[in-house]
Symmetry: C2
Subunit: 362 residues, 2 copies
């Protein structure tokens, strides 16, 4: 039995109800059913319905299930890009999206912001022949959250160019207006408090049409998981292959659970907890928020810069029952990252801050 | 609470210990750990070690984790085939492997056997420039199991050509000599009695070398899940992206559990149960084994041809607590398929046969 609380950026703490969902599913033998059965189609339909309701996804959008957010990136590039994707890069996950386009022999272009900074896209002029704009809404590696209204204005400026939004650590807290997004994706081990193993892609008919164009041109859009095969299965409330049934089932149950509690609670508590954390570290001696501009500070993944090696601090807190993430890649030793998701309570957040106060360095 | 027993070909009945494994993992917060942590590497290493021991996989083989057996097929074609794969097709899963090669813009070739039949490969002459031979050891769609010794002789005849073996419903019962196989793959919702969501690829260094050749030629071998990226992560006991941690953890525990009980028990019981089933249906009035030649009859997925619509029979048995699979694709109404995996007991198999005896048709 572990008494630790995972304040990590994902995988993170599970919702306590998850255990009940697993046991109930096993007792009802839900993990033994055929993915081509009526029983599974009912589960698929319930999950899609609850997810659309929770995230305000329009009725005519498709939901495809993949194995990770990274698979979503690969399938997006494969199906939506003949040649040129365009990437705004201000962290390692945006960079990964760009790298995938390169590895699939496309010709991506990019602009950078310094890591820890954001942009409002006001001065952005897209290169000629850009087919897809790729943006990460909330960069888990740096703690920068872009403002959705700025992204919306970019889409209004370029209505004909498809826009793909990485919303991995953003949802369910950050609201997205899907009128201005053609595809968006997340994985469930962040704000949905589930074990990892499922990537969820939300997309509109324009994406299907683009995949059809590639397919007709003889460009490979992948095999079993291409968008055309997925659409056909989605319309039957089915998946392309035997999927991660536990994850699809539990995602539906978690959405139902979050809907019962209401978005207002998620929103208010996330605001409150992030305020507690930022307020404390704004005045800390050797740990400061990494993102300088408050406009871009993420409320769900809080990245702190520490003058003491992060390993030391993370170990002290872990021994006291609070698990945090260290920095990403080159920031491993310099950063501490705190996940602020709906399953993290205000009480535990206060306790975490109290533990920080007690850290004594020799 | 369901009292039904799933004698389906997969997803199928779970091992009863699975529930304990989930609860223990949740209590220990294993599904919250980082996939880059020492804790996860230990789990990864234990699963690989137990799996290699159970399936007698040589020490120098790699184990890569994907999301399904179908993903394994796609990654194999992507990484091992410049132009020409060769497929022996005697069922729908072998056909799927071929179709994937086509969809990835390769130029696969094929030979067919009538569905329900097998081959010993004695007269097979491979086309010029074949790079990869693709064979399904146990065709879940038709109930045909090839003989591994026949595959071995084919490999001895063509030692330079890579051989990829679909062992999805074959393991852990059917033994494979990995000296004669370059890559093999399975999914866990069959003989491993787990919920679906994990594909396991077993491969040797020759496959890595081939992926290197493709990569150097500028042929896309996929992005995050290509074999070169996977090898690099495997050597650190890590995965390429945040994986299905529950599945990797539970696979290791199931292998440990099967090792404790010993392969002899799996082997003897599978033989006994398949004998009980085939013996009974050899003399049945309107249900007969689909595979005529006993040499090719699968012991793990038993396919029966019925003169009465399969729906009727499957429904009668389901109402009595025994869930069976109907036929695959065009055989949906004409076939019944019975899974015979290690978690199915001799006692339950006898009970299932007794229920068949009671079926009265008006």
């Amino acid at each position: 039995m572990s008494n630790k609380i995972y304040f990590t950026v994902g995988p993170t703490e599970l919702y306590p109800v998850i255990k009940k969902f697993y046991n109930s599913a096993i007792n009802r033998k839900i993990f033994s059913i055929s993915h081509r059965s009526k029983e599974f189609s009912d589960i698929f339909q319930a999950t899609v319905k609850n997810l659309k309701k929770l995230l305000s996804i329009p009725e005519d959008f498709y939901i495809f299930f993949f194995s990770s957010a990274t698979e979503c990136m690969e399938r997006i590039i494969q199906n939506l890009v003949i040649d040129k994707s365009f990437h705004y890069i201000n962290g390692f996950f945006a960079q990964r999206f760009y790298d995938i386009s390169t590895k699939l022999n496309k010709s991506p272009e990019k602009i950078y912001s310094s890591y820890g900074e954001g942009t409002n896209f006001k001065n952005l002029i897209l290169p000629e022949r850009t087919e897809l704009i790729c943006i990460v809404l909330n960069e888990t590696s740096t703690g920068v959250a872009l403002n959705f209204d700025d992204i919306k204005k970019l889409k209004i400026k370029y209505p004909e160019i498809l826009l793909s939004l990485d919303i991995v650590t953003a949802v369910p807290y950050y609201k997205i207006d899907y009128e201005y997004v053609d595809s968006a994706f997340f994985s469930v081990q962040k704000g949905f408090g589930m074990p990892p193993g499922l990537g969820v892609l939300i997309l509109n008919e324009k994406c299907i049409k683009k995949a059809e164009i590639l397919n007709k041109k003889g460009i490979s859009i992948g095999s079993y998981n291409n968008f055309l095969n997925w659409k056909e299965n989605f319309l039957k409330n089915q998946t392309t292959v035997t999927p991660n049934i536990p994850a699809i089932y539990i995602l539906g149950k978690i959405c139902e659970y979050l809907l019962e509690n209401g978005y207002k609670k998620i929103s208010e508590e996330t605001d409150k907890k992030s305020e507690l954390i930022y307020n404390y570290f704004n005045n800390h001696k050797f740990i400061k928020p990494f993102v300088q501009n408050k406009y871009y500070r993420s409320k769900t993944t809080i990245v702190l810069e520490t003058k003491i090696n992060s390993e030391k601090i993370v170990n002290i807190l872990s021994n006291q029952g609070f698990v945090l993430s260290r920095g990403y890649s080159i920031y491993k030793e310099k950063h501490i990252r705190i996940g602020n998701f709906p399953m993290h309570t205000v009480e535990d957040t206060k306790n975490l801050i109290e533990k920080f106060k007690l850290i004594k360095l020799k």
